[in-house]
Amino acid sequence: MSEQTKYTPTEADFQFAKRDAEAETDTVFAGESSGRAAFKAFCSKKRNIIAVVILLLLILLSIIVPYLTGHRYDAQDLDAANLAPKIPLLADDSETVYLTSGTTVRNSYTDLGLENVSYLFGTDHLGRDLFSRCWQGLRVSLLVALAATVINFLIGINYCMISGYFGGKTDMIMQRIVEIAVSIPSLVVVTLMMLVLKPGVGTIILALMITGWMDMSIIARTHTLRVKDQEYILAARTQGAGKIRIIYKEILPNIFGSLLTQAMVNIPSAIFMETFLSFVGLGLPMGSCSLGSLISSGFDNCLLHPYKLVPPVIILVLLMIACNLISDGLRDALDPAHKR
C-alpha cells in the first residue's frame, strides 16, 4: 500500500530461456493442413471418386471426340437421314417403329443401301451424325456452364465480402439490391435477355450471369459474417492490415471451401437453364448444337425415332449426377460439422 517496489530489468530477462529445435517447431500447426485433410476426406468416399472419374471422362470425350469421328457435327447428308444407331460388330441395326396403324420393323441402312456405313448413335433428320453432335453439344453446354459459374463466382464473392465486411449502411443498401434481384424470377429475366439480345453462346452466358450471381453472393455473405468477428481478423486489424488486405488475404481463403461447394451446385443449374432455354426455343442459333437443343429436337422426333433422344439425355443425366455428387462430397469434406 505504501511504496511500489521498483524492478529494474537485467540483461538476463531478454535471453531465451530455452532455445532449441523442439521449442521452435510449432507442434500444433505442423500437423495436417485443413486443405489436405479435406482432400483426404473427399477421396475416402468411393462415390466421390466415381463422380470425379465420370465428370473427367465426359470432359475428355467432349474435347477429343469431335476431332476423332469421321463425321463433322454439322455435316449434312440428306441421303443418310434418320438412320438408327448401329454398332459395327453387332448384327442387329434395325429399328422398331410404332405407328398408330401398327408396329413395323425396318432397317434404314439396307433400305438406303448404306450397309457399309455405321453411325454409333444414328443420324438426325438432316443426316448429321448424332455421335459427334452429342459430344460437341456437351462441349458447348459445359463451356456455357463453366463460364457462367466462374463469372458468378467472381462477382458473388467480391460483392458480398465487401458488403459483409463493411457492414452498416453499405451492407444495408447492397443487401436490398440483392434481395430485389433475387425476387425477380430468373426464368423471366433470362427469357427476356434472350429476346433483347442476339441469340448465341455469349448471350446465354450473360443471361446466366445476371441471374446467377445472387445465390453465390448470399452464401458468400453468410460466411463472411461468420468469419468476420473471429480473432485472427482482429489480430490482422490490430497489426494494421487494410480492409482490402483483410478481405482478400484473411477472409477469402477461409470461406473459399464453402464457395467452391456452391459453385459446384451452380454448374448443374446453369446446364439446366441452358437446356431449358433451348427447349423453349430461345437457345443457340440454328446450326450450332448444345445438349439442350439436342434434347429438344430429339423430343420433337421422339415418337417416331426415340433413339435420337436417348444419348443426349443419358449424357445430361450423367453430367448432372456427377456434379451433384461432387458438390455433396465437397460439402461433407470441407465442413466436418456438417457430416451426414
Partner: protein, 310 residues
C-alpha cells in the same frame, strides 16, 4: 415484434415496387412492339399507339401503369387476345397451374417426408442407401425429363393416360404432369428430412431424453419428428413458390393451358402487358412467401426479431 413486422412489410413493398420497375424498363428496352404487322401504315400504327397510350413518355407510362396496378387493373392484352383485360386471362390460366402445383406439392412432400424420415431411422441400412441413390437422381434431373419419360412410356407406348391435357378428362390427364412435378419435390424434401432427422437424432437433447427412459413412439413424435420437421417446412414453402407459378416446359410438353404456357406465348407475341402482369404475379407470390417465412421465423425464434435480421 410490431416494429419487426412493420420493417419486413415495408422492405417487401419496396422490393415489389423495384421489381415492377426493373421489369417495366427491361420490357420497354425490348426491340419491336406489339404492333409490328407490316400491313399497318405509319398513320395506323400511330393511331394504335395513341389509343393504348404508348406514345406517352416512359415515366408517364410507368406512373399510369402503377396507378392502375394499385386498383388491380393489369391493363389489356395487345396482340395475344386483343383488348381482353389481362385479369380475365389470368383468371382463365392461373387456377390450373396453381391446382396442379399445389397437388404435386402435397403429394411430393408427403412422400418425401415419410421416406426421408424412415430412411433416417434405418440409417446406413440397404434401404437408406438405395433411398439416397434415388434422391440424388431425383435432385439431379431436370423435371422436364420426367415429363418426357412419362409422356413417352405411359402416354405413347402403353396409351394408358392421355398424352395431352384434355378438358374432358381433367383428373386423368393431370396424373402425368403432377407426377413429374412431384418427383423432384419428393427427392428434395426426402433428402432434407433425412439430414435433419439424422442430426436431431444425434443431438444432445435426444440423447438426454433417451437417458431419461423416454423411448418408442413418444421419443419419435415428441422429440425427433417435431424438431426435424420445422426446417423442412421452410424448404417446402420455397418449393411451393416455384410450383405455383407452373413450369414453362412441362406445360408445353403436356400442352396444359396454365400461366407458364401463357408466358411463353406472350413472350413470343411481344405482348408486354401480359408479360409484365405475369412477372408481377410471380414476384408477388415469391415476395409474399418470403415475408410469411420471415414472420413465422420471428414468432418461432426470438433471436431473429431482436437483432432485426431476417
Amino acid at each position: 415484434m410490431k416494429k419487426y413486422l412493420l420493417k419486413r412489410l415495408i422492405i417487401s413493398i419496396v422490393t415489389l415496387f423495384c421489381s415492377v420497375l426493373v421489369m417495366f424498363l427491361l420490357l420497354n428496352l425490348m426491340p419491336g412492339s406489339p404492333f409490328q404487322n407490316e400491313k399497318l401504315s405509319p398513320e395506323q400504327r400511330a393511331l394504335l399507339l395513341s389509343k393504348y397510350g404508348l406514345d406517352k413518355s416512359l415515366p408517364e407510362r410507368f406512373f399510369i401503369y402503377l396507378k392502375n396496378l394499385l386498383k388491380g387493373d393489369f391493363g389489356v392484352s395487345y396482340s395475344l387476345a386483343a383488348n381482353v383485360p389481362i385479369s380475365d386471362l389470368l383468371k382463365a390460366h392461373m387456377p390450373i397451374s396453381m391446382i396442379l402445383g399445389f397437388v404435386a406439392m402435397v403429394i411430393g412432400s408427403l412422400i418425401g417426408m415419410s421416406v426421408g424420415f424412415f430412411s433416417a431411422l434405418a440409417k446406413d441400412s440397404i434401404g437408406d442407401k438405395l433411398c439416397s441413390v434415388l434422391t440424388i437422381i431425383g435432385i439431379s434431373l431436370p423435371s422436364y425429363l420426367f415429363s418426357i419419360f412419362f409422356s413417352y412410356t405411359l402416354g405413347f407406348r402403353t396409351g394408358t393416360l392421355p398424352m395431352l391435357f384434355e378438358h374432358s378428362h381433367p383428373v386423368l390427364s393431370s396424373i402425368m404432369p403432377v407426377l413429374s412435378y412431384a418427383l423432384p419435390v419428393a427427392a428434395v424434401v426426402c433428402r432434407f428430412t433425412r439430414d435433419e432427422a439424422v442430426s436431431v437424432m444425434e443431438s444432445d437433447y435426444v440423447l438426454f431424453a433417451k437417458s431419461q427412459g423416454i423411448s418408442g413412439m413418444r421419443l419419435l413424435t415428441g422429440y425427433i419428428l417435431r424438431n426435424s420437421l420445422m426446417p423442412v417446412i421452410t424448404v417446402i414453402m420455397m418449393l411451393l413458390v416455384g410450383l405455383l407459378s407452373g413450369s414453362m416446359v412441362t406445360e408445353q410438353i403436356f400442352s396444359i393451358p396454365g400461366i407458364g404456357a401463357l408466358l411463353t406465348k406472350a413472350i413470343t407475341a411481344n405482348d408486354y402487358n401480359v408479360v409484365l402482369a405475369l412477372t408481377f404475379v410471380y414476384a408477388f407470390i415469391f415476395i409474399a412467401a418470403r415475408l410469411l417465412l420471415d414472420v413465422l421465423y420471428g414468432i418461432i425464434d426470438p433471436r431473429i426479431r431482436v437483432s432485426g435480421k431476417g
